[in-house]
């Protein structure tokens, strides 16, 4: 008998919820989505969701577990849980340095959420905030990421930790890819651009609004073969 799907309290425009959806898609985990009226309804601050997560944030993952329901409210923890269940390769090889570097990026991703995510909420949904300060810390984080990804390229590695994707990439990708939503340009980061392309080209990758399909992965459907002409 298969156990019921984990329930994700989800908002389509939330990059943090998207992390969970993306990880599940890449890992082949079926999620039961429970849409939350974040905007305009502010449902995440209502009694039902506050009972699950007093911090009033989403995503929330409720997963059936041997000891009762497991409730996770931190996106990094959700990624680790989904990967552990269904795609352990996303947790790296388990070598001490590798595991530690993954943890380093999971923690780093919180800075992306605060800075680039804060600028995005301000620009898109009118959330208050010091826009110049948010953008400046976002740019500082992007520069660190760019330098690290450049060194990865020198090693012939396309992802943050090694030559295959880990939860580190999934944790960092959404807020970086959506930085322009908050008015932070990605033009100046060639290594980030190549890394984003590698993530978007992954088997099973799914988009969220603001991240377009990599149409180049499919041939042009109207490029008629020469033989079809006559």
């Amino acid at each position: 008998m298969t156990s019921p799907s984990p329930v994700l309290y989800d908002y389509i425009l939330s990059p943090s919820c998207y992390k969970a959806r993306l990880m599940a898609a890449l890992a082949g985990v079926r999620l039961a989505l429970r849409p939350v009226d974040f905007h305009p309804g502010v449902e995440h601050r209502g009694p039902e969701l506050l009972a699950l997560n007093p911090a009033g944030s989403i995503p929330i993952l409720v997963a059936p577990d041997a000891d009762g329901d497991l409730i996770l409210t931190e996106s990094a923890a959700i990624l680790v849980y989904l990967a552990s269940k269904a795609a352990p390769a996303f947790l790296g090889s388990g070598k001490p340095a590798e595991s530690a570097r993954i943890q380093q990026w999971l923690a780093f991703s919180a800075r992306l959420t605060a800075s680039l995510g804060g600028a995005r909420l301000h620009e898109m949904l009118h959330r208050p905030g010091d826009l110049a300060g948010l953008r400046a810390s976002g740019i500082a984080a992007l520069r660190e990421l760019e330098a690290a990804l450049f060194e990865q390229r020198l090693k012939g590695e396309a992802f943050l930790v090694g030559n295959r994707p880990t939860v580190a990439d999934i944790a960092c990708f959404p807020y970086v890819a959506l930085a322009p939503d908050g008015g932070v340009s990605l033009d100046a980061y060639p290594s980030i651009r190549l890394w984003m392309r590698a993530v978007r080209a992954l088997e099973g990758f799914i988009e969220m609004p603001g991240i377009h399909r990599l149409h180049e992965l499919k041939p042009d459907p109207h490029e008629a073969p020469a033989t079809a002409e006559a």
């Binding site: 425009l13 009118h126 988009e207 609004p209 399909r213």
Partner: protein, 281 residues
């Protein structure tokens, strides 16, 4: 360019369901205004100097104007039919001309590339001929018999179908889309784009819907429409120039763009140029 001709029009400035007694400040064509809930339970709109502005409450939104509207807000008769679910989608801010936001809403040819596998998909990219007219009596732009292949036409649609649309522009920054409604053949769903011009290059977009759909949870309906609009946002913020060019020559339309051509012509005829670029730069 100029806000003169557009100043007497109605614009959306807030959701009726979200009015607060203390009010909130917003911009309308460069002016700071305050939108609040009066003691009588009605919406109030005023300049920061306290000068009251006209108010209409309709289609889930508060409407106001910096000038003196000569006529009431346009009608959407279908939206008042009983049995429809009225959906406040909320607001999204976009760094683009309010006119560009409307024009994008009138366009179907981008569906396969921007709303991939939802509103359109390759190889079904062809836009068949449709009818466009400026209805003189109502003074509105109409496009009818618009058909396009959709892999997932709406939340309630499963599988690909050919969807039919009618587009209507009753005001310079508003458009109403009528779309075939899978659960109710013969009826049209109503999906609107109400755009609040904050400045000529910045707008708040308030989508709103009146649908025949008794099954889909309200939040799913909201998410679907927000998803669609947010896929457009990164396009709208990267069009050059930011303002809508009204002079022919700056951009190249094809037959698929006849609605946009009529919309631009109608704007120009009325001098609706707030958010437009008249001379190629």
């Amino acid at each position: 360019m100029s806000r003169d001709a557009m100043i007497d029009e109605w614009y959306p400035v807030g959701l009726l369901s979200q009015l607060l007694p203390e009010g909130r400040e917003t911009l309308l064509m460069g002016e700071t205004i305050r939108v609040s809930l009066g003691a009588d339970g009605r919406a109030k709109v005023a300049t920061t100097a306290g000068h009251p502005l006209p108010v209409t409450e309709r289609y889930g939104h508060v409407w106001s104007s910096l000038g003196q509207p000569a006529r009431p807000l346009f009608d959407i008769p279908e939206a008042e039919h009983p049995g429809r679910r009225l959906v406040d989608v909320g607001v999204v801010r976009v760094r683009c001309s309010p006119l560009r936001a409307v024009e994008n809403f009138l366009d179907i040819a981008h569906f396969p590339f921007v709303h991939t596998d939802i509103l359109g998909a390759e190889p079904h990219t062809e836009v068949e001929s449709y009818k466009v007219e400026i209805r003189e009596e109502a003074d509105e732009v109409w496009a009818t018999q618009v058909k396009f292949y959709q892999p997932q036409a709406a939340k309630s649609a499963s599988g690909g179908i050919t969807t039919e649309y009618m587009y209507r522009v009753p005001a310079p920054t508003c458009s109403v889309l009528y779309k075939t409604c899978p659960p109710r053949p013969g009826e049209w769903d109503v999906i609107t784009l109400f755009v609040q011009p904050l400045t000529e290059e910045l707008c708040d977009v308030w989508p709103w819907m009146a649908l025949y759909d008794d099954d889909t949870p309200m939040t799913d309906l909201i998410h679907f429409q927000q998803m669609i609009f947010l896929q457009d946002r990164s396009i709208l913020e990267n069009q050059i120039p930011r303002r809508l060019p009204l002079d022919p020559g700056m951009e190249i339309p094809t037959r698929a763009d006849l609605t946009s051509v009529a919309y631009r012509r109608w704007l120009k005829r009325h001098g609706f140029t707030y958010g437009a670029q008249l001379v190629a730069q």
